[in-house]
Amino acid sequence: MDGRQVTQGLGWFSLGLGLMEVLVPQRISSLLGLGNRQAVVRIFGVREIVSGLGILTQPRPAAWVQSRVAGDIMDLALLSTALAKGNPRRGSAAMAAAAVLGVTALDLLCSEDLSRGGAVDRGFHVRKSIIIDRPPEDIYRFWHNFGALPRIMSHLESIHEFAPNRSHWVAKGPAGTRLEWDAEITEDRPNQLIAWRSLEGADVDNAGSVRFERAAGGRGTLVRVELDYRPPAGALGATVAKLFGENPEKQIAVDLHRLKQLIETGEIARTEGQPAGRAQGTSKKYDEFVRT
């Protein structure tokens, strides 16, 4: 079972437990000998459901798994009162406490694992694919013209080809900062594949590739992108992390949608610059990926 499966399992566990606590609190509290604590059990239930949904549906499960850890501690506190001598159901309360302890250990492991997965320490590897309703030749040609890529990849400011197979990349950092590197094309198979990697002295070590496969049934091209970023340690590393946001996968998904829009429709769907009853046409809360 990998980390993600454990996380999903914890999410469903939260949901199930939460629903039982909300719907039949008297059974749970009498089962554990918690006496008349239905209201508390019910609140705990709502908490479990919220973390369960968070884990299952949110892009950053780490924070939600941490919320489960907090929840486990609350459960243990409650159960420890049930473990007091004189509780006739001490046995089942003890079993429940043991179960919660076990789950807490799993939660802790999982939450550490998930937050270590962030961009700062390890760098990241992203894979995404999309189908574009054009032959591979067209998309290969578009991509091979590196200077045009910043139009679809909003974190890039420019790519300038200064020699055959060599280009200079400038990425937008937070608060007006910039990250720069030179890159070389390491493999170039016309209409099939382009691969590149950064050269010595890059602000961020990175490598990428894009493959073009003819999609079945004449449905155009299956485009597969892979990117690897290994940011340096320290302050610059943090800058890189900010650059790709909390969610590099989502960023790449957005970029690939833009590529598809541009190639299929000739333009990129936009809302920036439209009217609204507030200072800006786009929303700070919901449009982070379409604001430039």
Partner: protein
């Protein structure tokens, strides 16, 4: 210009905002002459659709006059009178080529967000939350219309605004809801909800050959319109013990051949079931109240079709899926592929087969949009459909 903006639950205001501009080559700007409030807008007004932000311009059912076009739009010119479909569709992608326009892959700039909730993103929609694009809507004096070379249909003079306005949404929605039922001679169709969608769905079901339509609601004037204008038999669901039993009774025990849910996520009801859904929805433990959907599934005859034009947003509880499986039901649903129906339905209006304007009960100036929402939501003053005139 003036525009109807969302500021929160039960809070819309007409505000002064900047005029829209051409942002992309395939855009057009339309000066709006008529725009309606839709049942879908009530879901926003009632706060049940997530990802709205203060200041969002609402409205997705509008028509008007073209006042500017981008250089990529060759089929429209300044001065043309057009009706604008509510889904935004590129005309180039896999889904648009299959005429599944409300599933366009290229029109939602926030597709990645919708993918996280639903697995995949539908098309962008005017004025209908950031999940489906965060586009400014059409309850305003002007609107910017993307892919104007694909969506808007030109209307020649000779039609009033109200005769053609509903091509933008409710008429095609009703038509698709009935078409999805694959109606055969002799069929009985049951339709829950006698709002604008229900009223037009009754007409479309008969147009497509239904033998008998049974319409269900509780609002007396809506039931009366269903009988008098639509020729349907009606059931007031507050006056019977069980709608399902009534339908079984009326169909010799077999059940209606097709059941249409024209109510959606905010269905009303009574008794324990309603209380259960109200509480769960309020506690955010379920997002929708699927009372009608459950009834439609249980009422439908074996091998029949449940067609769902009513809007749902998230997670629904206690759906009797065992009945769907064991009765071999077909479920058909979706945001309407409006672009597909514009020409054939305009033709039906021209031929006099149908005049959808009979649903209009209220005509108000744009400034009165907040009152319009209140009147429509609470069905005051026998309200069925509100049209705003900017």
């Amino acid at each position: 210009m003036k525009a109807t903006c969302w500021f929160g639950k039960n809070d819309v205001r007409v505000e002064q905002v900047p005029d829209p501009e051409i942002l992309n080559p395939r855009d057009a700007i339309v000066r709006i002459t008529s725009t309606a409030i839709c049942g879908s807008d009530l879901h926003l007004y009632d706060g049940f659709i997530p990802t709205l932000d203060k200041g969002d311009i609402l409205g997705h059912e509008f028509m008007g006059e073209v006042v500017d076009v981008g250089k990529g739009v060759n089929n429209l010119k300044v001065g043309d009178r057009v009706v604008v479909p509510f889904p935004i569709a590129c005309g180039n992608c896999f889904f648009c080529k299959k005429e599944l326009y409300s599933l366009c892959e290229n029109s939602n700039p926030n597709a990645a967000m919708a993918e996280q909730l639903w697995g995949h993103s539908p098309a962008g929609i005017f004025g209908y939350s950031h999940l489906v694009g965060g586009y400014a809507g059409g309850q305003a004096e002007y609107a910017q219309v993307p892919f104007a070379d694909v969506g808007p249909i030109k209307i020649e003079n000779g039609f009033t605004d109200e005769q053609v306005l509903f091509l933008s949404d409710v008429f095609p929605t009703a038509y698709m809801a009935a078409e999805n039922c694959n109606i055969q001679p002799g069929d009985t169709v049951a339709i829950w909800g006698c709002g604008p969608i229900g009223q037009l769905t009754i007409k479309c079901a008969y147009l497509l050959g239904a033998e008998r339509v049974i319409a269900i609601d509780r609002v007396p004037e809506r039931l009366r319109m269903a009988r008098e204008q639509g020729g349907a038999d009606t059931i007031d669901y507050t006056a019977v013990d069980s709608v399902i039993d009534m339908l079984r009774e009326e169909t010799g025990g077999r059940g209606p051949d097709a059941c249409i849910d024209a109510v959606g996520m905010e269905a009303h009801g009574h008794g324990i079931q309603y209380a259960y859904d109200r509480v769960k929805q309020a506690a955010m433990l379920e997002t929708d109240r699927p009372i009608v959907l459950r009834e439609a599934i249980l009422a439908c005859r074996n091998g029949g079709t449940v067609s769902v034009p009513g809007v749902y947003g998230g997670f629904l509880d206690k759906i009797p899926f065992g009945a769907v499986m064991n009765k071999a039901l077909t479920i058909k649903t979706g945001q309407t592929h409006v672009q597909r129906y514009l020409r054939p339905l305009l033709e039906r209006i021209r031929n006099g087969e149908i005049d959808p304007s009979f649903i209009v009960t209220h005509r108000l100036p744009l400034d009165a949009a907040p009152e319009g929402y209140e009147i429509f939501k609470h069905k005051q003053d026998d309200c069925i459909k509100v049209v705003l005139k900017p």
